[in-house]
Symmetry: C2
Subunit: 250 residues, 2 copies
C-alpha cells in the first residue's frame, strides 16, 4: 500500500485486505513499515514491545528473523517498533545498498506465505523506496477527495521510473478508491475523473466511508471481526476477491 | 501546522486559518513546505511554476527572496515547488547546519508580517525539523479519529525535546480538533480523551467535518471565499480569534 498523501486509507486497506485474503485461505504476511505503527495497533498487537519487529527484519542482513502471529488464522505480521523512527537515517548510512535492504532480506529466506503486504508511511523517502524495490505490485489507495488527486500523477510516475530502472518486476496492481460517499458530488467527480484518466488501473471495488471502519482500530480488530456483514466488511471482501483475481491466486 | 499523522487537516487548517487571520487585519505569510504543494493549490496559486518558491527560500542562505501575493489581501505566500521533493536530501548534505537552514534565512531579513504560518509534510524528517527550529509556536491539528491519537504522545514529546535542546523559544500553541462529527460516539470519545489528558492545550474551537471544506480546494479558494457564512467558515473564524488571542495579536 503506497501513497505519499496522508490519511488516504493505506493502513485501513492493508489491515482489512490482509484479513480478507486470509479468510479466503491464503497465507498472508503483513509488514508494518510505518513508524506510527497503526497497522500493528489495528491488528490488536502490542506496538513497540513485540519482537522481532519490522525494524529488526529490515536490518537483519541475510538471516530474516521469524515473524509474529496475530489472533487471525493465516495472518502473520512483522510489527512496527519505535526504532523505525530512525530507520530512514540508519538506511542512509548503508551507502549504496540503502535502497535494497528490504529486498535482500526477503530474498534471503523462504516464506510459506502466498501474499506479502507492506504498509508504508506517507512519504517517498527511503523506507517507501525500500518497499518499492522489494515489492512485485503497487496498490495505491486514493481517498475520494480533491487534494488526494493532486499528488497522484507524481506517484504513478515514480512507480514507473522505479519499474524502468531499479525493479523491473514492479507492476501497478491498481488504485483503490477509499472513503467514498456516493451522495456527494465530490466523490462522483473524483470517481469519474479517475476512471477517465486511468481506465482499468482503477479497481472496480469502491470502499465506502463508514463509521465502523474508523472505529474498529480502537478495538484492535479488523472490520471482519468487528462487523462481519456491514458495508465495510463486504467492500473489503470484494476487494480481496478482486486483488486475488488480479494476482492470479484466487 | 505539524503532525506526522497523515490527512489530519494540516493544510486545510494552514490555509483557512491564514485567511481568517488576514481578514482580522493581520498581515500573514504562509510558507508551503510540503512537497505535495496542497496549500499552494488550495490558495489558487499555480504550483511548481510560481517563483520564488519555498525551496528557493530554504536554500537562499542570507538573502531571502521576495514572497508572492495571493488573491487575498494581507495574505502572502512562498509556494511549493517540485524541487521540494529532493529538499530533504539537499538539506542532509548541508552537514551540521542541516536543521537550521530555515531559521537562518528567516532571521536574515525583516518581514512586515504579523504572523508566519508553515504547512509541513506528514513526517518528522528534516523539513519538519527545520520548521520546528524556526517556529515560535507549534499548532497540532488532530483528526477526531482513533488512529490520529496514536502518534500524538510521540509528537508532543518531540516538540518538548526540541524546546529543551534546540529551540528554547518553541511553545505548544495547542491542539485543534478537526473533522469533528458530534453525532458519532467516536468523536465524542476522542474529544473527551483529549481534554482529559491535555487540558487547555486543546483549543476550545472544534472544526466540524463539512463537505464544503473538502470541496473548496478544488476551486482554489479558501472557505471564507467559498461559503462565507457556513459552519466551516464560522469555525475557522473562531479559530482565528482564539489563535490571535493566544498569540496576543488579537
Ligand atoms: N472507508 C473508511 N471509512 C471511514 N473511515 C476510514 C475509512 N478508511 C480509513 N478511515 C479512517 O480515516 C483515517 C485515515 O485512514 P488511515 O490511517 O488508514 O490512512 P493512511 O493513509 O494509512 O494514513 P497515514 O498517511 O497517516 O499512514 C483513519 O482514522 C481511519 O480510521
Ligand atoms: N473539516 C473538514 N471537513 C471535511 N473535509 C476536510 C476537513 N478538513 C480537511 N478535510 C479534507 O480531508 C483531507 C485531508 O485534509 P488535509 O489535506 O488538510 O490534511 P493534511 O494533514 O494536510 O494531509 P497530509 O498529511 O497529506 O499533508 C483533504 O481532502 C481535505 O479536503
Ligand atoms: Mg497509515
Ligand atoms: Mg497537507
Amino acid at each position: 500500500m503506497i501513497n505519499q498523501k496522508g490519511g488516504v486509507g493505506k493502513t485501513t486497506t492493508a489491515v482489512n485486505l490482509a484479513h480478507g485474503l486470509a479468510l479466503k485461505g491464503l497465507r498472508v504476511l503483513l509488514i508494518d513499515l510505518d513508524p506510527q505503527g497503526n497497522a500493528t495497533t489495528a491488528l490488536g498487537v502490542e506496538k513497540f514491545t513485540t519482537s522481532p519487529s519490522s525494524y529488526e527484519l529490515l536490518f537483519s542482513g541475510t538471516s530474516a528473523p521469524h515473524w509474529s502471529v496475530t489472533r487471525y488464522e493465516n495472518l502473520d505480521l512483522y510489527p512496527a517498533n519505535i526504532s523505525l523512527v530512525r530507520a530512514e537515517m540508519d538506511l542512509y548510512h548503508l551507502g549504496d545498498e540503502r535502497q535494497n535492504a528490504l529486498r535482500r532480506v526477503l530474498e534471503s529466506r523462504d516464506f510459506p506465505h502466498d501474499v506479502v503486504l507492506f504498509d508504508a508511511p506517507p512519504s517517498l523517502g527511503l523506507l517507501t523506496l525500500n518497499i518499492l524495490l522489494a515489492a512485485r505490485y503497487a496498490l495505491v489507495p486514493v481517498q475520494c477527495e480533491y487534494l488526494a488527486l493532486e499528488g497522484l500523477t507524481m506517484l504513478l510516475d515514480t512507480i514507473e521510473e522505479i519499474r524502468n530502472e531499479q525493479n523491473t518486476e514492479l507492476e501497478m496492481l491498481g488504485c483503490v478508491l477509499t472513503m467514498v460517499d456516493l451522495r456527494t458530488k465530490l466523490s462522483q467527480d473524483v470517481i469519474r475523473e479517475m476512471r477517465e484518466h486511468l481506465g482499468d488501473r482503477v479497481l472496480r471495488t469502491l470502499i465506502p466511508r463508514t463509521i465502523r471502519l474508523s472505529e474498529c482500530p480502537s478495538h484492535g480488530r479488523t472490520i471482519f471481526d468487528y462487523e462481519r456483514w456491514g458495508s465495510g466488511a463486504r467492500a473489503y471482501e470484494a476487494l480481496a476477491n478482486e486483488v486475488a483475481d488480479r494476482l492470479g491466486v484466487a
